[in-house]
């Protein structure tokens, strides 16, 4: 979706402000939010692109005004309500008002060391890759109202396939419950001027990780 989360190239957000000796979490609730997200992921209630899509669907003013972990928390509340796993009324009451549903599994403390890792998204290929390194490709001019990982600044642009990264879960379908539909993934490299015009710094090159359905031969 063409939302405010798709920030590449936007103006007006100001300077980057690094913080000296930054703690892992600034507040206890941030740590609990991170942990709740991981535990519910383990329970099989959502996959990463569904969680991303929930955050992207927050109202734009809320998205922009919320800290990173606040977005995570609001995204979880939204998904839990949509999946009928925890109601808004229960979150408002601060207690369960109905019994829980049966989930795939429940994370125990003993299992934690084995799950503090990112998931695996590579899948067996369904067909041969359409492009190879060196191919000139044009990204499609798509504007789905649902989740996509093709950023706006890199749509309808010509780049070069730099590498083939294997076949991966396709975010655009898995986010909306239409299955993993694995697709070939490429690193596609663009000249800064192709993306930003004459004002681009001459030496700049930018790459995106592009799924095959985002691309056509240039």
């Amino acid at each position: 979706m063409d939302g405010v989360h798709d920030m590449g190239g936007m103006h007006g957000f100001g300077k980057v402000e690094p913080e000296q000796n930054e703690p892992v979490f600034h507040e206890d609730w941030e740590a609990r939010t991170q942990a709740l997200y991981r535990a519910m992921s383990y329970a099989g209630v959502w996959v990463i692109d569904q969680a991303r899509f929930a955050r992207e669907r927050l109202p734009p003013d809320v998205y922009l005004a919320s800290s990173y972990y606040k977005k995570w928390e609001l995204g979880m509340e939204k998904q839990l309500a949509e999946l009928d796993l925890a109601g808004r009324d229960e979150l408002a009451a601060g207690h369960a008002l109905r019994p829980g549903k049966s989930l795939k599994r429940k994370l125990s403390a003993a299992e934690v060391p084995n799950v503090i890792t990112r998931g695996s998204f590579a899948r067996p290929a369904q067909k041969p890759a359409r492009f190879k390194p060196g191919d000139r490709v044009r990204t499609k001019n798509i504007h789905p109202k649902t989740h996509t990982r093709l950023p706006r600044y890199a749509r309808d642009k010509v780049g070069v396939v730099e590498a083939l990264r294997g076949c991966h879960v396709f975010p655009d379908t898995v986010a909306i419950g239409k299955g993993e539909d694995p697709q070939w993934l490429y690193t596609v490299l663009f000249d800064g001027r192709e993306l930003w015009g004459e004002s681009a710094e001459p030496s700049l090159k930018v790459s995106i990780e592009a799924f095959e359905p985002y691309l056509e031969l240039a």
Binding site: V16, L36, A39, M40, L91, L103, P113
Partner: protein, 210 residues
């Protein structure tokens, strides 16, 4: 910085808890009562993020690459495999990709769409990495972003920005500082900063560590 503005005290109810403390407490209580999560597991997850994963892992990977040419080749060829073989962590997600800085090329990592970050090797991302200024500007004004970090690249060094738009993750192999010949891997690792592995900084100079 954004997270410092989260204290909305609930004066009406005389509570000292912020809105987010209350919301997260309610969420955890409901999910625990429904039998979905075990608070002890949540404690263990937080402990792991606070004490086990962090940029010290990436720093060891970089120091090894600086001292062992065959490891460096393996790392640049397939970082997932090479990092696993080091035995510092027991699993690496698909795929970790290491990109090498040279005097003529500087790499920088961003995720413009959310905040994807190679946390298995660098720990959880800092607030600035997740902020709108970084996510918006890294792809079209990387030198300006570097200036915000007090970093100036030579004018003839080209910039390559990697936007992490899929489940591939990137770690920058920074330039080894001069004057570190003969240093042990461990001593070299002390020069490798988190920012140097994201591409918003350089490794420390020998004079900057004891």
């Amino acid at each position: 910085m954004e997270q410092k503005h989260e204290h909305h005290h609930d004066d009406e109810h005389g509570s000292e808890l912020s809105e987010m403390q209350l919301r997260v407490r309610a969420l955890e209580t409901v999910l625990t009562e429904k039998g979905y999560v075990d608070p002890a597991a949540l404690d263990a997850i937080i402990e792991a993020f606070e004490t086990k994963v962090g940029p010290h892992i990436g720093a060891r990977v970089v120091a090894k690459a600086w001292t062992d040419p065959s490891f460096k080749r393996a790392l640049l060829d397939n970082a997932t495999k090479a990092v696993l073989a080091l035995g510092l962590i027991n699993r690496v997600g698909d795929h970790l990709i290491a990109v090498e800085n040279t005097p003529k090329l500087h790499n920088m990592i961003v995720c413009t769409l959310c905040s994807c970050y190679p946390w298995e090797v660098l720990g959880l991302p800092p607030v600035w990495y997740k902020s709108a200024p970084y996510r918006s500007r890294a792809v079209n004004d990387p030198r300006g972003v570097l200036a915000d970090f007090g970093v100036t690249l030579p004018a003839d060094t080209a910039i390559r920005v990697w936007d992490s738009t899929a489940e591939t993750r990137f770690i920058v192999l920074p330039l080894r500082p001069k004057g570190t010949e003969g240093w042990s891997e461990e001593k070299l690792a002390s020069l490798v900063t988190r920012d140097s592995m994201v591409g918003t900084g350089f490794a420390k100079q020998p004079g900057e560590v004891a």
